[in-house]
């Protein structure tokens, strides 16, 4: 028996802002859910199951799957929570794929959300690390990223100017996306003149803190075609979560991305990713990742990431646009961020990306990054996958 095909048929994103004092968490979730249902032409009664996730310690709410039902509409429905840190949103998307593909459910609502304004983000992330070995010397999000950037720069001679070019790209793209939090374009000089947070990372190299939620509705083959004129078919998923201790990481390369990308592309017979993929929504929490991780993904050779970025190939209109949405640097409600990448890739495939649409996008990749040096990946296509 063949596998059950799964497609995205609707997406919803809230108004993303650094602070949403007008809504509580349940209301924020409800805003995204309502938009996704309307987008798919469904009501909550049509939803068979709900997958939800966030970072517990950010809002300080335990058992969010139970707490959130007034926002998701999950009362008397199957509700399950997945959470993997920064990757949570993409982990949710992959979870939705499996739940529909399993045959247990035909229409699944996937919700990622975060109210970062209510949290001490770094304080919470710090507790992710081993309390004895890693927490005192290394913990937090930006320290790991700075270590990666330094290792890469030492190996390949890249500069913070190269990275700034990535930030400029994403912030320019964000101006086309009404859902992005930051709509002001920046220059390379702006980036380099912004405060140094952790050498070599400047303030404008990194993501902001955002309140926001994203909802995605997935449906099985047979149902999806009726709900969406152009469903976004999920061709494959792959992920790696490898980090347990600081010493596990090959700093300067993202091994989880290399492994996941190889698996993802092999599953869908993608041999020349730059030619076969039309657009990428990369979970890129800081600019250097825009150089390093495209090498790990196999788009360009090792050490050639910066050159590829400078060529303009990843800009809108280039060979392979990356982050038409403006990406994570322009908007980062953490538990939703990975799911937003997935939703934005879906919008591209469905031809609904409006001012940020990549013309005739047929194949897209969305990714998630988090945990620590973890990667999730989904491959999206306009055609049904041929498995």
């Amino acid at each position: 028996m063949g596998k059950r095909r799964v497609a995205i048929v609707g997406t919803g994103q809230t108004l993303h802002r650094s602070h949403r004092p007008d809504v509580n968490g349940q209301e924020l979730i409800h805003e995204a859910v309502r938009l996704a249902l309307a987008d798919a032409g469904l009501t909550i009664a049509d939803i068979d199951a709900i997958v939800i996730g966030n970072m517990d310690h950010f809002e300080g709410i335990n058992a969010v799957d139970c707490w959130s039902v007034d926002g998701t509409g999950g009362t008397m429905k199957p509700v399950i929570k997945l959470t993997t840190g920064g990757t949570t949103g993409s982990t949710l998307a992959i979870g939705g794929v499996h739940l529909v593909a399993s045959g247990m459910f035909d229409r699944v609502l996937i919700v990622g959300w975060e109210k970062n304004s209510e949290s001490d983000t770094t304080g919470a992330i710090t507790t992710a690390f081993d309390p004895v070995w890693d927490r005192l010397v290394f913990a937090g999000a930006i320290s790991g990223l700075a270590a990666e950037a330094q290792a890469y720069m030492a190996r390949y001679g890249a500069t913070d100017r190269d990275a700034a070019r990535v930030a400029v790209r994403d912030r320019r793209h964000a101006c086309n996306n009404p859902h992005a939090q930051l709509h002001k374009p920046i220059t390379i000089e702006d980036v380099l003149a912004s405060p140094m947070l952790a050498d070599p990372i400047h303030l404008l190299d990194v993501c902001p803190r955002t309140d926001g939620a994203c909802a995605v509705i997935m449906a099985c083959e047979g149902v999806a075609e009726r709900l969406a004129p152009v469903p976004d078919w999920i061709w494959a998923t792959a992920n790696r979560h490898t980090y347990t201790y600081l010493g596990d990481v090959n700093w300067g390369e993202l091994d989880s991305m290399s492994e996941a990308a190889q698996e993802l592309f092999a599953k869908a017979d993608i041999r020349e990713p730059r030619k076969q993929i039309d657009v990428i929504e990369l979970y890129q929490p800081y600019s250097f990742a825009g150089i390093i991780w495209i090498e790990d993904m196999g788009l360009v050779e090792r050490g050639k990431g910066a050159e590829y970025i400078w060529s303009g190939a990843t800009d809108m209109g280039g060979e392979l646009p990356i982050n038409p949405s403006g990406g994570v640097i322009a908007c980062n409600p953490i538990g939703a961020t990975g799911l937003i990448r997935c939703a934005e890739a879906a919008l591209q495939i469905m031809g609904k990306a409006e001012a940020r649409q990549v013309p005739d996008a047929k194949v897209a990749v969305s990714t998630g990054f988090g945990g620590c040096m973890w990667t999730d990946m989904l491959l999206h296509g306009r055609n049904k996958p041929d498995f």
Binding site: G2, K3, N24, G53, M55, D56, H57, G60, I61, N62, A63, V64, D65, C66, W67, S68, V69, D70, G74, T75, M76, K77, P78, V79, I80, K81, L82, T83, T84, G85, T91, I94, G95, V97, H98, L99, A101, S102, G103, M104, A124, I125, T126, T127, A128, D130, P131, T237, A238, N239, R240, H241, T242, Y243, T244, Y245, D248, G370, G371, C372
Partner: protein
């Protein structure tokens, strides 16, 4: 639903405190036992689901701590937060989707390193309920009062659950609290939150559990003693306690009915021989038995007082000793599944239920059992 099986089980002993073990140590012990039990190695595991809770572990991304020990390197992995039965459900879906042939599922927690009242208080709405001081225990006391008032269940009947389960635990080497007690002991124990006495409540525990799920095809190749999955379903009730009738469990009723329908069970009370249910508190076992239709139209307390639900009964409930005899949250539901597998294989030793062919395992998420997951397992394909 395509045929799938549980082909390996492993768990740590449940202890009040495991000061020698980190989360990873516990996971390694459970995983190693599950793989050994299945007669396979990590190479036979296609993907991994770990189950944990950031609040109980005091760690953001708590699954990070057990990744290595669960053998996730070079594999696809995901992390469920909540009871282990929910982790197992996602693990099952990943097989049913055709993406993977086997899934290793783990679930762990260390109650000894946690403050239950603060952690479960954090599950209440921060604006409306949290400041009242509600936690899992005090909310359960409200539920106990409502359930006993509405059904006429007596404190003695509720105490009998604790008596039965602690006595059952005397035969289970993994149990934390094997005890030979009687109803008077329970009722004479300290009142924790009226009407709940100390011995009506499950203890604080450390532990980890792991199972291996496999597709039919892989089970044929590597499954030595498969137990088959007949049905599984989960549903969530409303969130606010005031929105719920705490004396009833509609989400459990629906989950059980759905699982029975998948399993082709029309009369659960006569077709199921063993049930491992989420007895976090004595009265809850009675409440869940009724909601799952395991005592027909009769009151579970009456039947228990008449001698039903023991190891030798035609429907044994918590022959392992249940959670009253050891309650590592998160792992708890996965342990229920593991105990049912033991029974259906005929490997439960001194607490073996005669002729166990169909078994039920039950897990919950949230306060007062807001969300329930029900598994029906069978010894025959």
């Amino acid at each position: 639903m395509k045929q799938t099986a549980i082909i390996g089980i492993g768990m740590t002993k449940i202890d009040a405190q495991k000061p020698r073990d980190t989360f990873a140590d516990m996971a390694w012990e459970a995983v190693t036992r599950a793989l050994t039990d299945a007669g396979i190695g990590f190479d036979d595991i296609d993907n991994v689901i770990t189950t944990s809770n950031d609040f109980w572990d005091g760690r953001t991304i708590s699954c990070m701590a057990v990744g290595d020990a669960s053998g996730v390197r070079h594999k696809n992995v995901s992390c469920v937060e909540g009871d282990g039965t929910f982790g197992a459900f996602y693990g099952l879906c990943r097989i049913l989707s055709g993406a993977y042939g086997t899934t290793l599922v783990t679930a762990h927690s260390k109650g000894s390193e946690s403050v239950s009242s603060l952690i479960t208080n954090a599950a209440f709405d921060p604006l409306t309920d949290r400041a009242l001081g509600l936690d899992a225990l005090t909310a359960a006391a409200i539920q106990a009062g409502m359930y006993m008032h509405r059904t006429g269940t007596t404190p003695e009947e509720a105490a009998l659950v604790s008596v039965k389960n602690h006595r059952n635990a005397r035969h289970n080497p993994y149990a934390q609290l094997p005890m030979d007690i009687d109803v008077e002991d329970v009722l004479a124990s300290e009142v924790i939150a009226d009407p709940l006495h100390k011995l009506d409540c499950s203890p604080v525990s450390d532990g980890c559990c792991a199972i291996v799920l496999a597709s039919e095809e892989r089970t044929r190749k590597i499954g030595r003693k498969p137990v088959w999955i007949k049905g599984v379903a989960f549903y969530s009730d409303a969130y606010y306690l005031g929105d719920r009738n705490l004396a009833e469990a509609p989400a459990l009723v629906k989950a059980a009915q759905s699982a029975y329908a998948q399993a082709g069970i029309s009369n659960p009370a006569s077709e199921i021989q063993v049930a491992e249910v989420y007895d976090a508190f004595g009265f809850q076992e009675l409440m869940w038995i009724e909601a799952m239709g395991l005592c027909g139209s009769e009151r579970a307390g009456t039947l228990l007082a008449s001698g039903r639900f023991g190891i030798q009964d035609r429907l044994a409930v918590n022959p392992s000793g249940g959670l009253l005899s050891g309650h590592p949250v998160i792992a708890a539901g996965l342990i229920r599944m593991t105990e049912v597998v033991r029974q259906l294989r005929g490997e439960a030793g001194a607490y073996q239920v005669d002729d166990a062919r169909i078994g039920l395992a039950h897990g919950i998420n949230g306060i007062c059992g807001q969300s329930h997951c029900v598994w029906v397992l069978g010894s025959e394909q």
